[in-house]
């Protein structure tokens, strides 16, 4: 059923995943780590000020998780739309 409609739908859902994941990507790094760092620094977890923690630790952990989530979502999407390789 690899008709145009199926492929269009696949691409649209792919773009939606990208949008959501990149929004999170932006929020944790540029948002929590840079733009709102002073506000978050008011909160302290252990020895870390939260904004500082996002900038030097947290953002990186979330980046890693984002990619693995993306891999999982896309493998599923590929199968559903029958565009996966063998």
């Amino acid at each position: 059923m690899n008709n145009d409609k199926n492929l269009k739908q696949y691409w649209k859902r792919n773009l939606r995943y990208l949008l959501i994941l990149l929004l999170i990507w932006f929020t944790v790094s540029y948002g929590c780590g840079i733009l709102f760092v002073d506000e978050l620094n008011m909160i302290k977890i252990g020895g870390f000020k939260l904004g500082f923690w996002f900038a030097q630790q947290g953002a990186i952990y979330i980046f890693v998780i984002l990619i693995f989530v993306y891999v999982h979502l896309m493998n599923k999407l590929d199968k559903e739309h029958n565009v996966d390789e063998d």
Partner: protein
């Protein structure tokens, strides 16, 4: 008496063993075809490719300099931490799967084919060569520095030894040899980075994981959090509080963005995703790569904080004569220098530059036995010159760790430098043999001829890189910003639009790349080299430093390309179909199995 070996013996032993390993792998993975030479036959597993990418990406600078940089920048160091990791999210989501589906050998291949133009291809080749040469010169220098500091070998001889090793496995094994040596190099470098970090974390905070120790209380009985202590020490000495930093918000934003986008646009990183068999492997291997990189990148800020606290505590206001032995050792290498400005025999360390330029030592010693320098004193009370590289290199000694750990740092630094150099040399050789000779100058060249050309190009590139390693041009540090800026300003927008915007045509893409490039070069010349009118910090556009300007140049590229493409004809039908095709994973074409030749 302890029967342990000294540092030098340990260093020879560890470097000898790791080099033998690299050469063995290289011999095992010799290649005979261009496909193997360029992309390792396209049959590398995602996990191995992830490790190789991590080693490729983490250079001598990541290993040796980054933690040191952060320890002097505090919060601002986040630009490197987020900038050099966040780009992998862009790579995984926006570039890697589609470029793998496209299925050619190089980035200029994609640009040239997608924009049906040899001009576009040539612009891409020039950028790839420029970025790669800038980078590789620094790596060769890094090899020389590690050799000279740990083995007291002449720095130039160190560069030559490094050249010999890389020559052997890059020329013989191409991408295949490089990939599998990089896997080994990753293991060496991460082990070498983590062992001292864990030791120090336990020593200072009693917590095993540096990532957690960093936010814990000190184990000196004070019950104080490490970071609070460090903030206090920093402010006391006149520096900005460690967790606050001193750059403007907009500049931190722009630098982070330029480094992220630049990372995603670097040809030696992108090309790694051509080496895996399938589209889904390309996605997965970006995930592995970032995981492996994150291990070092989340440890580095912890090392930075530990090292800074240790340094201040062990030297500030201490009498020079009573300083531990490592101080004198590193003074010998010129990474530390002390001038007793107020003649009290004690080291005063505070904000401000102690002396003008790098220390130039002269004969004789001062009242306390310190090495004398000929540099002019700056008008500050700071008496200590500290090279930031010392933070990683001397850290094990400062923390009094066993000799084998100190030697391990040398082997790790070499692994980081060699793996990155090899990856870059391959991009240079591919750009010349494939993108220039095969695609433009002599399309009818035989497979064998192309392979020979690639090998010769790799060999020549090693010599040029070695030359720059021995005679480092002063501008290397200044052009690293340019390398990222160029990748951000040229490749990234062209590739993104090539995939996500079918209507993008050659006129738009070329004018965008050229504008982005020229703007970036103009800004660097103006604010880094003082040409074209020069200018200081107050003249920066939007308050953005040259390091962050790639972000502005990238946006300009997008705007120009989109505008121009609206007024020029749409790309031909077959190109639009090609774009359609790379969006769906099906039919990426299984790669040929790697043949392991009989040895």
């Amino acid at each position: 008496m302890r029967t342990s070996m000294d540092v030098q013996t340990w260093t020879y032993l560890l470097i000898g063993l790791t080099f033998a390993l690299y050469l063995g792998i290289a011999y095992w993975s010799r290649v005979t075809t261009t496909k193997e030479f360029y992309i390792a036959g396209g049959g590398v597993s995602p996990l191995a490719n992830g490790m190789a990418t991590a080693a490729d990406w983490m250079s001598a600078a990541s290993f040796i300099s980054m933690a040191g940089l952060i320890s002097f920048m505090g919060y601002d160091g986040a630009v490197y931490l987020m900038g050099w990791t966040g780009g992998y999210v862009l790579l995984a989501l926006l570039l890697a799967p589609y470029l793998r589906k496209f299925g050619k050998y190089t980035v200029p291949d994609f640009i040239g084919d997608r924009y049906y133009s040899n001009i576009a291809r040539t612009v891409a080749v020039i950028c790839a060569l420029f970025v790669s040469f800038t980078y590789v010169a620094g790596q060769m220098r890094g090899v020389g520095i590690v050799f000279s500091r740990f083995l007291e070998v002449d720095i130039n001889l160190g560069v030559v030894i490094g050249m010999g090793i890389v020559f052997f496995y890059a020329v013989l094994g191409g991408m295949k040899g490089i990939t599998y040596t990089q896997v080994a190099q990753y293991c060496v470098l991460i082990f070498a980075f983590m062992v001292p970090a864990i030791f120090i974390s336990i020593q200072m905070t009693g917590v095993f994981l540096p990532q957690l120790g960093f936010g814990s209380t000190l184990s000196d009985g004070s019950g104080m959090y490490l970071l609070d202590k460090l903030d206090g020490l920093n402010t006391e000495l006149g520096f900005a509080a460690y967790t606050d930093g001193s750059k403007s918000r907009i500049d931190v934003f722009a630098i982070t963005a330029a480094l992220m986008v630049g990372t995603a646009g670097l040809p030696h990183v992108i090309v790694r995703f051509f080496t895996v068999p399938k589209v889904r492997d390309a996605r997965l291997s970006a995930g592995w790569a970032l995981l492996f990189i994150a291990i070092l990148y989340t440890t580095a800020p912890a090392v930075a904080a530990f090292a800074r606290t240790n340094l201040i505590e062990s030297v500030n206001n201490k009498e020079y004569k009573l300083l531990p032995e490592w101080f004198g050792n590193w003074e010998k290498t010129g990474l530390l220098a002390w001038v007793d400005k107020n003649n009290d025999g004690k080291v005063q360390y505070m904000s401000g530059t102690a002396i003008t330029g790098k220390p130039e030592f002269i004969k004789g010693s001062g009242n306390s036995g310190e090495r004398l320098v000929s540099n002019a004193n700056q008008e500050t009370e700071n008496e200590l010159y500290v090279d930031r590289d010392i933070m990683v290199l001397a850290n094990p000694e400062i923390a009094n760790l066993p000799n084998w750990v100190i030697a391990l740092v040398a082997a790790g630094g070499l692994a980081a430098a060699l793996s990155t150099a090899a990856g870059l040399l391959l991009v240079i050789s591919t750009s010349i043999a494939h993108d220039l000779i095969k695609k433009q100058i002599k399309p009818d060249i035989s497979e064998k001829g192309e392979l020979r050309a690639a090998r010769i190009a790799a060999g020549l590139a090693i010599f040029i890189a070695g030359y720059f390693g021995i005679h480092p041009p002063d501008f290397v540090a200044a052009v690293v910003a340019l390398a990222f800026g160029l990748a951000a300003a040229s490749f990234f927008p062209a590739i993104i639009m090539g995939i996500f915007y079918k209507r993008m045509n050659k006129e738009g893409a070329i004018s965008g790349m050229v504008t982005g490039l020229l703007l970036m070069i103009f800004y660097i010349l103006k604010f880094k080299f003082g040409l074209l009118g020069g200018g200081g910090i107050t003249d920066w556009w939007f308050g953005i430093s040259p390091e962050g300007f790639g972000f502005v140049a990238m946006i300009t590229n997008f705007c120009v390309a989109l505008t121009v493409s609206r007024f020029t004809p749409a790309p031909p039908m077959h190109i639009q179909e090609m774009v359609e095709n790379i969006r769906y994973p099906k039919g990426a074409g299984g790669a040929v199995d790697i043949e392991i030749k009989d040895i």
